[in-house]
């Protein structure tokens, strides 16, 4: 599957037909490219990939998506029949995982260090973290990714032509600087990646709803967006952005109201003698630390005692995935289908079964999630998901912050690049360097 602007699924590698409530037939398109190792793309590869994900011993995080599959058959090299355990109208939504060549799966090829696929780019080299080399299939153009930790150095390298382009990950002041410079072209676009504060529901302080509501009222998101993000974000009230087909356009976020925040804290039994203490974990990216420091300050103003701890990415993400936190901030990148709600908020999705790292347990939410997944029509689904997002905004397992805009900055002779709402690099498949303008 692939997804359109509203994140509705459209056929990617295959078209499908629903043969019976529990059987789907997928027919591979003619235009499919062979795999990068030369082998042709057949139904056998699809079957092998999906079965490999379903094998419990492989412990795949995608297994939950496909668990309704009972059996897969391949009547010929272009058709795949998938039989489900129970009726699921929207089963094709779940088939967004990339397909791998069957032979290599059988050989136990190390896909995690040497990916092989059939997309527009072929993998060349990945010698170390942050350094990647890929080649575009149709014209052989080579793309090299470099890790440059310091924001200033990245900007200077771009200005001096040492690198050709960069995308995201700069404070807005530097983006403005680039936009003003003649040597560089800057493209901006709205984003759909969801930045939020996450909480540990079992913690004695933040596990209490009143405390979370206090936090929500204590945040001045408008000021942060205007001054710190330079206006390059949209305030969020839910996981899915409003333009998503399952998004809820009518949600109203908690107002910036320090007095209300203090009241909530008092109701929960906290005051000057008994301060609510929060350890706030963040990655060591300087921009995130900056935001965390500001949030710390806003929370301290209503009576919280906040300790910001920043960690390098590996340690930080490991802690988050393992549920070892009180409060943290992160961004969900690349969300396409509402199945994500099950993965994040359903009570049975506590790690290692899913991504409910905060251990959110709410019967109403559970019910809505399950109903939405079983729904028969898109309309029913939309209603259920809207209702679900209202509940989530009320219960605040996450406090939504904003959807950050994306930007691309590159050599002015680069043409044809398009930003994606989730900040991915798919635009590289169409980018080209116009050498006629280069002196």
């Amino acid at each position: 599957m692939e997804f359109d602007e509203q994140n509705l699924p459209v056929p990617g590698l295959a078209v499908w037909k629903r043969v019976s409530p529990t059987q789907f037939r997928f027919t591979l398109k003619d235009s499919i490219q062979p795999f990068h190792d030369g082998s042709p793309f057949t139904s056998g590869d699809v079957k092998a990939t999906l079965e490999s994900i379903l094998k419990p011993e492989n412990a795949s995080p995608h297994r939950g998506d496909l668990i309704s599959i009972q059996k897969i058959e391949t009547p010929d090299s272009r058709n795949i029949d998938i039989f489900l355990k129970s009726p699921d109208s929207f089963f094709p939504d779940r088939l967004r995982v990339g397909i791998l060549p069957r032979k290599k799966i059988e050989e136990k090829h190390p896909f995690h260090t040497q990916p092989v696929g059939n997309g527009p780019f072929i993998f060349l080299l990945w010698p170390e973290e942050g350094s990647l080399k890929i080649k575009r299939m149709f014209d052989g153009q080579i793309f090299e990714f470099l890790y440059v930790k310091d924001h200033t150095v990245r900007v200077l390298k771009l200005l001096k032509g040492e690198i050709d382009m960069l995308q995201n990950d700069l404070p807005p002041e530097l983006v403005s600087l680039l936009a003003k410079d003649q040597r560089v072209r800057v493209i901006k676009g709205k984003g759909s990646n969801f930045t939020y504060l996450g909480f540990n529901m079992e913690d004695p302080v933040v596990g209490r709803l009143g405390v979370r509501k206090a936090i929500a009222h204590a945040l001045n998101r408008e000021d942060m967006i205007r001054y710190v993000l330079g206006g390059a974000a949209r305030p969020a009230s839910a996981l899915l952005p409003p333009e998503h087909w399952a998004g809820n356009q009518n949600l109203i976020f908690y107002s910036y109201n320090p007095v209300k925040a203090k009241n909530f804290l008092n109701q929960e039994g906290f005051d000057e003698q008994r301060l609510p203490k929060i350890t706030y974990k963040t990655s060591s990216d300087p921009f995130r630390v900056r935001l965390a420091t500001i949030i710390q300050r806003q929370l301290e103003k209503v009576g919280f005692e906040v300790d910001v701890r920043s960690y390098d990415w590996g340690t930080f993400y490991g802690d988050i995935k393992g549920g070892r936190f009180q409060m943290f901030s992160l961004t969900w990148v690349g969300i396409t289908t509402p199945d994500i709600f099950h993965m994040i908020f359903h009570s049975e999705s506590v790690p290692p079964n899913g991504a409910n790292r905060g251990r959110f347990q709410n019967a109403v939410a559970d019910q809505l999630i399950v109903q939405a997944q079983r729904a028969d029509t898109r309309e029913t689904q939309m209603d259920l998901y809207r209702h679900l997002q209202e509940v989530l905004l009320d219960q605040l397992p996450y406090i939504p912050l904003w959807y950050e805009d994306h930007f691309f900055a590159g050599n002015k002779n680069l043409e044809g690049y398009q930003l994606a709402p989730d900040g991915n690099y798919d635009g590289l498949s169409r980018i080209s360097l116009n050498r006629k303008n280069k002196q």
Partner: protein, 263 residues
């Protein structure tokens, strides 16, 4: 130019450093609308990336540098002089061993040992002081030992010994006053060195932790924005440079004055 300018700068630093906790400063007060504002008439040094007043942070940073440097110099002066004097006085194996020990500490170039210790002990101002003390005692020990050794031979000490004055008396009344002067010179240079060392450690992220202000971490934060808000990196750097310059110049003057006296 020699004396008055540096002493003024030095006193200014000391007064600021001692007084800033009592001024009505709020180095952590954030006003988001003022983020990265450059210096202007009303706000003489501008604001940083979190909307904090750089002037306030600079003044609070003066306290940090003053407290750390005075503590470190004070502690190392006492420990180093004590150890060095005793070693020089006793001589023999004790002295030999002490010299080797000093050589070992001196074998770590520059700030390396301090960086490693601060890294190992963890962040925080107390650990910075500890790390710098571990590294700094050697200078005073070496100096006082050399002084004691040269003085030991001098006649009036022999005379005192002959008369039968006790050893403690000799050390206190005769040895120490003569060693004091070069020690003060050394202490001055050491002060300058510690200011830079503390700033260096904070710059590397090993010292004073945010949000506590330190000139070193201000320079580190400011360097990130130097393309768009150079005032953030320039002012703390000037502060460090001025203080270190002033103290070094004062040390020079002291030493010249001493040379004249003893020459």
């Amino acid at each position: 130019m020699g004396f008055w300018v540096p002493i003024t700068v030095f006193l200014f630093w000391v007064i600021l450093g001692l007084g800033s906790p009592f001024l009505n400063l709020d180095p952590e007060q954030m006003d988001l609308s003022k983020i990265l504002n450059p210096p202007s008439l009303g706000f003489w040094l501008g604001y940083d990336d979190l909307g904090r007043s750089i002037a306030d942070r600079l003044m609070a940073g003066a306290t940090t540098s003053l407290v750390v440097s005075i503590s470190v110099v004070g502690i190392t002066l006492m420990i180093g002089t004590f150890v060095g004097t005793l070693s020089g006085y006793w001589g023999g194996w004790v002295d030999h061993g002490m010299v080797r020990l000093m050589d070992i500490f001196l074998a770590f170039p520059g700030l390396l040992l301090a960086i490693a210790m601060a890294g190992v002990l963890g962040p925080g101002i107390e650990n910075v002081v500890m790390a710098l003390c571990v590294v700094g005692w050697v200078g005073f020990a070496r100096l006082s030992r050399a002084q004691v050794i040269s003085i030991k031979q001098r006649e009036h000490v022999q005379a005192a010994l002959a008369i039968g004055l006790g050893r403690t008396q000799i050390i206190l009344k005769h040895l120490l006053p003569l060693t004091l002067a070069p020690l003060i010179v050394e202490a001055t240079f050491s002060l300058a060195g510690v200011v830079i060392a503390e700033a260096s450690l904070s710059f590397l992220g090993l010292g004073v932790q945010p949000p506590d202000p330190s000139w070193g971490s201000m320079i580190r934060d400011g360097a990130q924005y130097m393309l768009v808000a150079p005032h953030m990196v320039i002012f703390p750097g000037i502060a460090v440079m001025l203080v270190v310059l002033a103290v070094n110049l004062l040390g020079d003057r002291f030493r010249d004055w001493l040379d004249v006296k003893s020459g």
